[in-house]
Structure formats: C-alpha cells, structure tokens
C-alpha cells in the first residue's frame, strides 16, 4: 500500500503582477512527495522551481490550485497560520546560509526553539544535540564570522533540524561551497534523510548534487517536465 503523500500539489498556478505586465510563473504543477523521500528539484532559472519551493515552504501562496500538506489545505491559510505551520513542521536551509551575525552557533540554532517557547535548558540540550549531529558541538560559541562556509552551512542545517521537522527545504545548499564541502553537506542531508526520517526537498543546479537524491524533479517553463530516480534511490536500495 502506498502511504498518503506528505505533500500534494494539484494544478498549482502562480501569477505575479496583474494586467498586461502579469507573468505566469507556474502553469499548473501536479506533484506528490512521499514521506521520507529525498527530492532534488532542477531546472533552468525562470522555470518556476524557486516559486514552487516558496509555495512548498509555506512562504508564499499559489494563485490557483490545491496544496495539501499532511492533509491540510495550505492555500487557505493566512500569514500567521502558515508561520505556525513552518514553525512546527518545516526546516529551511538557504544558499547564503542566512545565519544571524554576531550571534554564536548555539544561539543561531536555538532561535526556532525560542519561538516555540522552549525553556532555557531544553533549548541548550536540543541546540547542542543538533550541533552534535552536524559535527560542530565544539564550535558552539563561535560566531558565523569565525566559521568557514561549510561550517556555517552545517550550523544552518542544525538550526533547520533542531525542531525535528518533517520536511527540510534546502535552496541550493551547496551553491556557495566548493565541491569537497558540497559532498560533505550532501552526505549530511542523506544521513538526516535516512536516519532521522526527514523528508528533504532540495533545489540545485548541479547534477552531481542532485544525484544524491532519490527523486529528481525537472522543471521547465512553469511546468514539471519529467521526474526521474536519482542514484540515492539505488544506494538506498542497495543498503535496504
């Protein structure tokens, strides 16, 4: 039996602007993402992949169509309801790391817990556990300026997973890193996907990185062009 997908897009459209200058970024996206999947999203710029990711991340709402997240219609939720959804179920990793400057790694990682209203001890314990998971436990009191790019991205991943989200959305997480660091980050994401059961959605330009995923979704001109299996699936198969 195939389980219900955690994410289900039906006929999603997105139009920016109005009148003669209106631009249709998405022209009807249908996409199901299963719980525990590792999905890479690829496509040239302007293909609609970033718009789709913003909608999947509940940062933006579609103009038309249905977006079911864990069975809930996200397209009907208001700004704050979507914020609460992000807080509970989603983690974000950005290309530019987006850590708070002049703030220690631990404080950065604790940030989502603050908004959840966790107490100081819980924040510390969970924050340190997340840093441990990305291998930066000893660097907890360093500020972003004192960390390398790869380390910063790992702190960002720790921040994304500290709340034990269902879905991790990564927007070109290796875009600012050299190939060696990139592979490390991909291995970390693979590990989180396989051992922590986190569904990973990743936008990337690099086929090498996309290869880590189980599923690769290709976008073109505001539509899903094709869906193929990645090498990650084969690996998983081999491990399994």
């Amino acid at each position: 039996m195939v389980p219900d997908p955690i994410i289900s897009l039906r006929g999603i459209t997105k139009i920016f602007g109005s009148g003669p200058t209106a631009f249709q970024a998405l022209k009807g996206i249908d996409l199901d993402i299963a719980q525990g999947d590792f999905v890479a999203v690829m496509g040239p710029s302007g293909s609609g992949k970033s718009t789709t990711m913003n909608i999947l991340g509940c940062l933006d709402v579609p103009t038309g169509g249905e977006f079911l997240f864990k069975g809930r219609h996200v397209e009907t939720l208001d700004r704050d309801q979507r914020a609460l959804l992000r807080r509970r179920y989603l983690g974000f990793v950005f290309q530019g790391f987006n850590l708070l400057s002049r703030t220690t790694a631990l404080e950065n990682v604790e940030l989502p817990l603050l908004y959840r209203g966790e107490d100081k001890k819980t924040r510390y314990d969970m924050g340190m556990a997340a840093l441990d998971k990305v291998g930066l436990k000893d660097w907890w009191d360093h500020t972003p300026a004192e960390l390398s790019g790869g380390q910063q991205q790992r702190v960002a991943i720790a921040r994304a997973i500290v709340t034990q989200p269902d879905v991790l959305l990564a927007d070109e997480p290796t875009g600012n890193l050299d190939s060696e660091r990139s592979v490390e980050i991909m291995q970390l994401l693979t590990d989180l996907n396989q051992n922590s059961g986190i569904t990973v959605l990743m936008v990337t330009h690099e086929p090498d990185m996309a290869a880590f995923a189980h599923t690769i979704v290709h976008f073109k001109d505001g539509l899903v062009e094709r869906i193929e299996d990645g090498q990650g699936a084969a690996q998983k198969g081999m491990i399994g």
């Binding site: 700004r79 914020a83 992000r86 509970r88 908004y115 959840r116």
Partner: protein
C-alpha cells in the same frame, strides 16, 4: 512569549552596544534635563515658601496707601494711631495678636565699631506675630514698653559686627546717638527674600517714636489671625473696620491696604512653579527629540536587519512576534535611557542644589512620571518601525542584500 521577545531584544541591543548607547543618548539627556530642572525648581519653590513663612503664618499686614508704593500723587495717606491698634485688638474677632511697627534706620556704635542697620519699634506682641524668638537674654518688660525705655534686642548680624565675640547682653551701645542697653539677641533667621533678616535692632515702639520719628504715628500694623479663623474673613472685617475709622465714603478707594502674607507666599511660589514648568517644558522638547532619534535608529535597524527578519519569519515567527521584538527593543532602549537619565539627574541635582542655595528634594512622583514617559516614548516611536518590520514579506526579506 513576552519573555522570549525580551531575551531577543536584549541580545539585539547587546550585539550593537555603541549604536544602542547613541540611540538612548537623546532619552538620557532629555530625562536628565527634565528631572534636574523640576527637582531644582521644586527646591527653589520650597526655599521661597520657607522664606515667606518666616514672615509668620496667617499674618495680615496693614499699611497706609495702596500697594507697596505710595501710588500716584495727592496727599500722603495718613499713618495709623495707637487708637487703631486698640480698636483692632478689642473689636476684631479672630485676632491672636496685634503688633505695631515703626521703622527707622541708623548707625549703631559699640566701642568704636560702627554698623548701619534698621531699627524696628514694636511691642513684645511682635514675637507672637512673627516667629521671632529671643536666643539670649529676654523680651521687653511691660513697664519698659510703657515708659519707652532705652533697651534693645539685636539681630545676629548686628551682634557679630558690633560685639564680635563678646556677650552683648547687658552691654550698652549707642543707636542714632542715643545710648541703650542690649537686653537680648534674636534667634538667627538667615538670609530671606527681603534681605538679611538678622540685620535689625528691635526697640520699644514708644522709644523709637519719641527719639527717632518724633510723632506718635504707627507706620504698619501686623495682625496675627487665630488658627481657628479664616484669614480672608478676618481680612475683610479688618478692611471694613479701617474704612469706618478712616471715614472713607462708600465707593471711594481705600487709603490703606491689608496684605495677607499667605497671598504673597502663593504669588511667589506660583511664579517659581510657572518658571519651573517653562524650563521643564523646554527640557521636554529634548525628550521628544530623543524619541525621534529612537525612531530614526530603529528604522535604520529594520532596514539593516531585513534579512534577519526574513530568517525569523521563515523559521516560523508570526508577524506579532516580530512586531513585539522590535517594539520591546525600542522600549528597553528608551527605559534604559530613562533609568540612566534619572541617575544623572539625581547626581546633578545633588551637586547643583547647594550651588543654587536651594534644598535638594527627591520627588518620587516626578521620577516615576519621567520614567513612564520615557517608556511611552519607546512605545510611540518604536511602533512605526516595528510595524514595518512585521509587515515584511519573508521571501523579499530573505532576498534582501
């Protein structure tokens, strides 16, 4: 929720110490200026009130003519006679004590020391009207008053200048060329609003009339009102009585005036209070400027931290939390400015009050209001920037360079 935002606010302030300090500087200066001005102003008011109360509480001063001057041309209004004194004492209700005054000035001499001073001729009732006490020696005896004996009670300034260290009681000195015996020294009253109140020689009125003024006129009558009676009621009956005695026709102007010392006190303290308020209002403008400074910096801060706001929104902060964070930040800044300003005001007031010769008075109400006002400035001027931060679109905010 509130705890979280306070933590976030303190972290943000801590990250930008210098900027935070400069932001609060306006509030610090504003609060310090307002509170210092009000504190010193209150001290000045208290000092004035104290000086006036040394004239005696609930005392009516009866003088010939209108106001303090002689007013206009025409004949000089007549002085009072002893009969007026007796009538006031016997016919007016609510009178505690009545003292006549005749004033003269002259030089006092003792063993080659000269001192120019004011001579008051009065009776021992004067000590009941005014809060004048004899520190050493005694008051006039009734027979001395009756006979107008050459005895005097001197103020401390006269004592210092004529007698230096020596004990003056029982000594004889010359005043306006007449020899008289010092029988007492007045308790020190200090520098008042009307000059040195210790620079006086008090003598029996009959002596001063006979030897110095040459007539039996009384230039001023002091009426002390009994505490149980209303001063203004006694004042109007006194005025009525005097109009009758001086045969002033209905509708004609008084040729005398009755002055209530409480009125003078109220007028003068009213003046210092208004001055204090004006100065405080000017200082309050700097508070307003401080508030605008906070808004300015908070707006810059919101723009500069657009990405940070985007991150917070992305990881699940709701708009209200971002609004609260920036609002609390502004309030914490302005409150810190308020507290620092109060401390500076306290130090400044304690330091300046002695220089201005006014008492230092700590008014908790003024301090509390100033603090609450600084907090309110944080709310008012922090709301607009906070509102702007909260309304940012997370996608745009994250893309912001």
């Amino acid at each position: 929720m509130l705890g979280t935002t306070v933590i976030l606010a303190f972290r943000a302030i801590n990250r930008h110490k210098m900027r935070s300090f400069l932001t609060t500087l306006g509030i610090i200066i504003g609060v310090a200026a307002v509170v210092t001005m009000v504190t010193l102003g209150n001290g000045a008011t208290a000092a004035v009130r104290e000086q006036i109360s040394s004239l005696g509480a609930n005392v009516l001063q009866l003088r010939p003519g209108q106001g303090f001057g002689r007013g206009g041309g025409g004949p000089r209004p007549p002085n009072f006679k002893e009969a007026d004194l007796t009538v006031i004492e016997n016919q007016l209700t609510g009178v505690r004590a009545v003292a006549p005054i005749v004033q003269s000035s002259g030089t006092a001499i003792y063993e080659g020391n000269n001192w120019s001073t004011t001579v008051y001729g009065t009776t021992s009732a004067y000590s009941q009207v005014q809060s004048w006490n004899v520190a050493e020696g005694r008051l006039f005896m009734p027979e001395e008053e009756e006979a107008g004996k050459a005895v005097c009670i001197i103020g401390n300034t006269v004592r210092t200048n004529l007698f230096q260290g020596a004990d003056p009681v029982g000594k004889r000195m010359r005043i306006k060329g007449v020899s008289c015996q010092v029988i007492g020294v007045l308790a020190t009253r200090g520098q008042g609003g009307f000059g040195d109140q210790d620079d006086v020689v008090v003598m029996p009125i009959k002596f001063v009339q006979r030897r110095f003024t040459g007539d039996r006129d009384i230039s001023q009558i002091m009426v002390a009102v009994d505490d149980a009676y209303d001063t203004s009621t006694v004042q109007s009956s006194l005025e009525e009585l005097m109009r009758e005695r001086r045969k002033i026709k209905a509708g004609a102007e008084d040729n005398f005036n009755v002055f209530d010392t409480k009125q003078i006190s109220d007028t003068l303290t009213g003046t210092t209070t208004i001055l204090t308020q004006i100065v405080a209002a000017v200082a309050a403008i700097s508070l307003l400027v401080g508030g605008i400074g906070i808004m300015n910096i908070m707006l810059v801060s919101v723009t500069e931290r657009t990405r940070e706001i985007g991150i917070r929104l992305a990881i699940g902060a709701v708009a209200r939390e971002v609004l609260m964070q920036f609002l609390v930040e502004a309030i914490v800044l302005s409150c810190m400015g308020g507290v620092i300003g109060l401390v500076i005001a306290l130090i400044a007031s304690v330091g300046i009050a002695p220089l201005m010769k006014v008492p230092f008075t700590f008014d908790p109400q003024v301090n509390l209001i100033a603090f609450l006002f600084s907090a309110a400035i944080g709310v008012v001027f922090g709301y607009f920037p906070a509102r702007r931060a909260a309304s940012l679109n997370p996608i745009d905010a994250l893309r912001h360079e």
